[in-house]
Amino acid sequence: MTTEAYPGAGRPGMTSGGVIITAVSCLSALLVIAALVYATGIGQRHTAALAAADCEPNLSPSGQQCTTQPMMAAEYAAMLAPAGQQLTTDAAAYTANEGDHLAVAEAALTAEVAAERALGRSLAAFPFPPAIARLAKGLIQANQARAGLTAEQAASSSLTRLRSFNHQVQLADAAVQTEMKLVLAAVDAPLPGG
């Protein structure tokens, strides 16, 4: 780069620096104007893009403007995974101790109750779309019933009494599983109108 006058510029005051900055300035002005023109259509494009991308406006767990079907399914799976893991661990601990260690079995059941109630709270807070919310309500109720039964079982005074709840708890658990499958199928499936 030199300080000499730009040979093609035509007038003596125009240096290469002047030519460069003028050209860049004009380009920038054009780009800014183009950006302003583009900005005027944001509203319509936004509405169209939301509809085209199957966004569910009521599904905004992290303040996102668009939550799609796969995003909701992923959020739901992420919520279920730790609860499922905890319940499996607690159930295994109970099964291992229901025959001879009352205190340990009760502790396992107490932990199970806590996990079931936490799951209930998470399900209640999850922003299901209206079509799935009805199914989710059934799941929450089934989970609540199971938690109540498990809490009752945890308060047993003997091993015999403790084991007498097993059948009822299994039935309650099966009810939860059935409801859970329904919700999971609805979450994975395309939303109504989507």
Binding site: M1, G17, I21, H46, A53, G63, Q65, A78
Partner: protein, 328 residues
């Protein structure tokens, strides 16, 4: 009588001395009159080869004011206020770090710290053009501060990504498993020696090579272009497959590569020696208005790009801070 109890220079410790604007690349000692070279080329006719005298704003900034029994320079206060936003990206990730929330790190550390590092880099690079345009030098220490914060943020990003990203191939795979990641990894590898030598001791030891070495920052600037280009399909991917979100109505504004380009045009143009000379000439002629009029559209484009980068940083940063990361 109020006096500075810390020492005469305590209030300006990071604001002075070592990081005064360095002379531009084409600086040479002015040849002595009468020598053949001097006869060929008059020295310093564009105001680039000598440090310009202090502007009125610089003088105003040098003045003290009384605060709580101490005398503080206006410059020191202004520098602290202007430097405060630099650690904000790191602050956004603090709750996730304290609670060891790997989900927040895995989902949004790249956006929060990566964008934060980009902001710091641009602010660091903005100092020189602003000196060229305004002739003021009081804010030059911010260059070092933003450079250091850029390094801290980008290293934090790399460390978190190496632990929490979902890419296969172990730590190296998570850091450099894709080409765009490799670019980011190279940037971090370059930023480490730069930040390690950003101190008076290294400046003294490296002597004339120090400035050349610090210019590796320009390589980082270039690698960032490659990183962002590859990240979003050369600027053509948007929505769930690129920047923004699936229902984005202004995908172009959310393209990181476009934001980068809009900002870089201003930063690059005002670094070109012929442009700097042109500006110095117009200022010397007393036609600064012409400079401002010409630069205004370029600066407007810079602001346009920068606002969207800031927008992304704020929204994703707040999501990260709330431990509810945005996967957009």
């Amino acid at each position: 009588m109020a006096r500075n109890t810390v020492g005469p220079r305590a209030d300006q410790a990071w604001a002075t001395d070592y990081y005064q604007p360095s002379p531009p690349a084409d600086t040479r000692p002015a040849p002595r009159p009468g020598t053949p070279k001097a006869a060929k080329k008059p020295a310093s006719d564009h105001g680039l080869q000598r440090r310009s005298p202090k502007s009125r704003v610089d003088e105003w900034m040098e003045a003290d004011f009384k605060f709580g029994g101490s005398r503080i320079k206006r410059k020191a206060v202004a520098l602290v206020l202007l430097g405060l936003p630099a650690p904000v990206p790191l602050f956004f990730m603090l709750p996730a770090l304290v609670t060891l929330n790997s989900n927040t790190f895995a989902v949004s550390v790249d956006d929060t710290l990566g964008t934060g590092a980009e902001i710091c880099l641009f602010l660091c690079l903005l100092v020189t053009p602003m000196v060229t345009l305004t002739g003021q030098h009081w804010f030059v220490p911010l260059r070092r501060w933003y450079g250091i914060m850029m390094a801290a943020t980008s290293i934090g990003d790399a460390v978190a990504a190496s632990i929490t990203d979902n890419f296969a191939g172990g730590v190296f795979g998570r850091l450099a498993g894709h080409v765009f990641e490799l670019m980011g990894f190279l940037m971090v590898m370059l930023v480490i020696p730069i930040v390690c030598t950003s101190n008076p001791w290294a400046q003294k030891k490296l002597g004339k090579y120090w400035k050349r070495f610090q210019r590796l920052t320009y390589v980082i600037w270039g690698l960032l272009a490659c990183h962002l280009m590859l990240l979003e399909g050369f600027g053509f991917e948007s929505g769930s497959n690129g920047s923004g979100f699936a229902g984005d109505g202004d995908a172009v504004f959310h393209q990181r590569f476009y934001q980068y380009s809009a900002c870089s045009l201003f930063l690059l143009t005002l670094r070109l020696p012929p442009v700097k000379r042109w500006i110095a000439d117009r200022q010397k002629e007393g036609r600064s208005w012409l400079v401002w009029v010409t630069v205004a559209p370029i600066f407007a484009l810079f602001v346009l790009g920068f606002v969207f980068i800031l927008n992304e940083e704020i929204f994703k940063g707040i999501d990260s801070f709330m431990n509810h990361p945005s996967a957009e």
